[in-house]
């Protein structure tokens, strides 16, 4: 038997690498269903829509609805609350973006872009820090220093446009997609 030593790539080397690579691809392909099964199912993905009758909501009042399993704040703002939100210089805000699903992503967080109809502020009731439901502020029972909401979990304070002003939350309260069907009916989702 003659031993041949060679640095050249052999047919066997190629087969090793090719088999190993195919095995890795196969293992990843087999793992994917077990990872993806954790993601929301088609039933959960089906976007829910909620229609809300605004007629019963009084100025200065907030009503909490459910949208896609999460709380939704619908707040009928008083002229004073709108004025205080408009008086804020957007460049001083911790989060200068509107976070309004009805507008482009880079829209600034002016009050007009947070609430297209100034009287009606519609935001998800989910603190952008760790997901608690913030408590609404009223003139008689203030929550936080900015007249909007205070999240008691970790102390994030929002103003009357639902914009983050103080505390650990990184973003303004999210404005969901919605359309006004009439002056007193709005469809969210």
């Amino acid at each position: 038997m003659t031993a041949t030593t060679s640095d050249a790539t052999t047919r066997r080397d190629f087969l090793y690498v090719a088999t190993g690579a195919m095995g890795a691809v196969g293992a990843a392909a087999a793992a994917w269903p077990f990872i993806d099964q954790m993601n929301p199912s088609t039933a959960a993905l089906a976007l829910g829509t909620t229609e809300i009758d605004l007629a019963a909501i009084q100025p200065g009042q907030q009503v909490i609805y459910t949208w896609r399993g999460q709380p939704l704040f619908v707040r009928r703002r008083t002229p004073a609350e709108i004025a205080s939100a408009k008086a804020v210089d957007v460049s001083t805000l911790p989060d200068p973006l509107a976070r309004n699903a009805n507008l482009p992503d880079n829209t600034p967080a002016t009050d007009a872009d947070r609430a297209t109809k100034p009287e009606w502020l519609i935001v998800k009731g989910v603190c952008t820090h760790l997901g608690c439901t913030p408590t609404v502020s009223t003139p008689t029972a203030p929550e936080g220093e900015y007249g909007g909401w205070l999240c008691h979990c970790h102390g994030s304070a929002y103003d009357t446009a639902g914009r983050i002003r103080k505390g650990p939350a990184p973003e303004n309260l999210a404005v969901p997609p919605y359309t006004f069907l009439s002056d007193t009916r709005v469809k969210v989702g």
Binding site: H152, C153, A169
Partner: protein, 418 residues
């Protein structure tokens, strides 16, 4: 597991088994004749207590799973059914719920013991790291378990903890959604948490096996932190330490029973006796007591991502501990400077726990607790990253005893034995 085996089969049957599966030999060498330092004190009995705690949680947990229903609409009622209708259900559930707290109490004592006597130092780094892994798995298991009763604290605790992942840039929200199986914590989340809560204890048991295996290579550290030098320094594990462990286990079980029978909701939160409500967050979300120091760290940082990173760093630091300590002396008994910082560290952990238990705006003695928590977090990290490396280099340790036997028995006894 290490060193020559001293097992001699006594009968033909034992010999037959030994040649095929040397399990009796393993038990003999690790639990009977295993040479153990003769000076182990009460703080070394917690390994046995922890093994007991794991067993109790697994047995009571398997029983509870026979009656529990992992469904968002039925979970809360099924737990109430266990409490009221199932024979001895109240007892088994209270043992399981308080068992988690007793498990963590023991693990904290066990960890501080290791920290004080330098049990994480060479050649025991892997024992320590496996221990940290067990601790992390325990926290995950306890978190999943706390969600299962589907009360207000269960639901909102799950919301806050899973939202920690949303702090990760770009992919964070996708990870949170993937964990939930929905756009918020819900039925899908509850089901998977139940599945994982059942799985993880068995993973813990496997890692405990590795932890004990790694322990049996160098053998136990001891309160003097010096190596075993001669057979005089040791005693056989049985009966000396089996009896000592059993005695202190009995005392621990008395404490355990006192909570189960006289104050079963001592560690609980009244809000968790309200069914989960996704629309109303309780005024104060407080995790279980054993997670409070980390919760205080999370809240003390006024930035979401940084808060999560600081909390993660506090845990990762524990893994790196063996390389952060530069001192060649293991036991703090012989390190007069570090010993004082150790006790400050112990108080700091309790103080952080207190801060975590109070509301965010709480003030004590005119000082906002968030400031106290910030200082506490700084000290926690500085203890490992600044004090440990520097003091280990500049401190002059006290003189170490010549041997364990000499320290315990005195010079004369050692001479007489020789």
């Amino acid at each position: 597991m290490s060193g020559p085996s001293t097992y001699i089969p006594k009968s033909g049957l034992e010999k037959w088994i030994d040649q095929r599966l040397p399990l009796p030999r393993l038990m003999h060498d690790t639990m009977q004749t295993f040479p153990t330092p003769r000076n182990l004190n009460i703080w070394y009995t917690f390994g046995g207590i922890l093994t007991f705690c794991l067993g109790v949680q697994i047995i009571t947990g398997i029983v509870l799973a026979m009656h529990y229903v992992a469904n968002a609409g039925l979970a809360f009622d099924s737990v109430e059914k266990i409490m009221r209708d199932v024979n001895y259900g109240w007892l088994i559930r209270y043992i399981h719920a308080n068992g988690a707290s007793m498990f963590f109490l023991a693990v904290y004592i066990h960890m501080f013991r290791g920290l004080y006597y330098g049990s994480y130092k060479a050649p025991r780094e892997l024992i320590w790291i496996l221990g940290v892994l067990i601790y992390l798995l325990m926290m995950a298991t306890a978190f999943f378990g706390y969600v299962l009763p589907w009360g207000q604290m269960s639901f909102w605790g799950a919301t806050v903890i899973t939202n920690l992942f949303s702090a990760i840039p770009v992919i964070g929200q996708h990870i949170a959604t993937w964990l939930w199986g929905d756009f918020a914590v819900g039925d899908a989340t509850l089901n998977r948490f139940f599945s994982l809560h059942y799985l993880l204890p068995f993973i813990i048991a496997a890692v405990v096996g590795l932890h004990i295996w790694a322990l049996h290579v160098p053998g136990n550290n001891n309160p003097l932190g010096i190596d075993v030098k001669s057979p005089q320094d040791t005693l056989p594990f049985h009966p000396y330490y089996t009896v000592k462990d059993a005695f202190y286990l009995c005392l621990y079980v008395i404490l355990f029973a006192a909570f189960v029978f006289y104050s079963p909701d001592f560690f609980g939160n009244p809000d968790n006796y309200q069914p989960a409500n996704p629309l109303v967050t309780p005024p104060d979300i407080v995790p279980e007591w054993y997670l409070l120091p980390y919760y205080a760290m999370l809240r003390s940082v006024p930035n979401k991502l940084l808060g999560v990173l600081v909390m993660g760093l506090a845990l990762v630091t524990l893994v790196l501990l063996p390389w952060l300590d530069t001192s060649r002396v293991r036991s703090l008994r012989f390190r007069p400077v570090m010993k004082q910082f150790f006790w400050v560290f112990a108080v700091d952990c309790v103080l952080l726990g207190y801060c975590g238990s109070q509301s965010v705006e709480a003030v004590a003695f005119g000082i906002p607790l968030v400031i106290v928590a910030r200082l506490g977090t700084v000290y926690y990290l500085a203890y490992f990253w600044v004090l440990m490396p520097i003091i280990g280099l500049i401190e002059t340790p006290k003189k170490l005893p010549a041997s364990i036997a000499q320290s315990v028995l005195g010079d004369k006894a050692v001479a007489a034995a020789e």
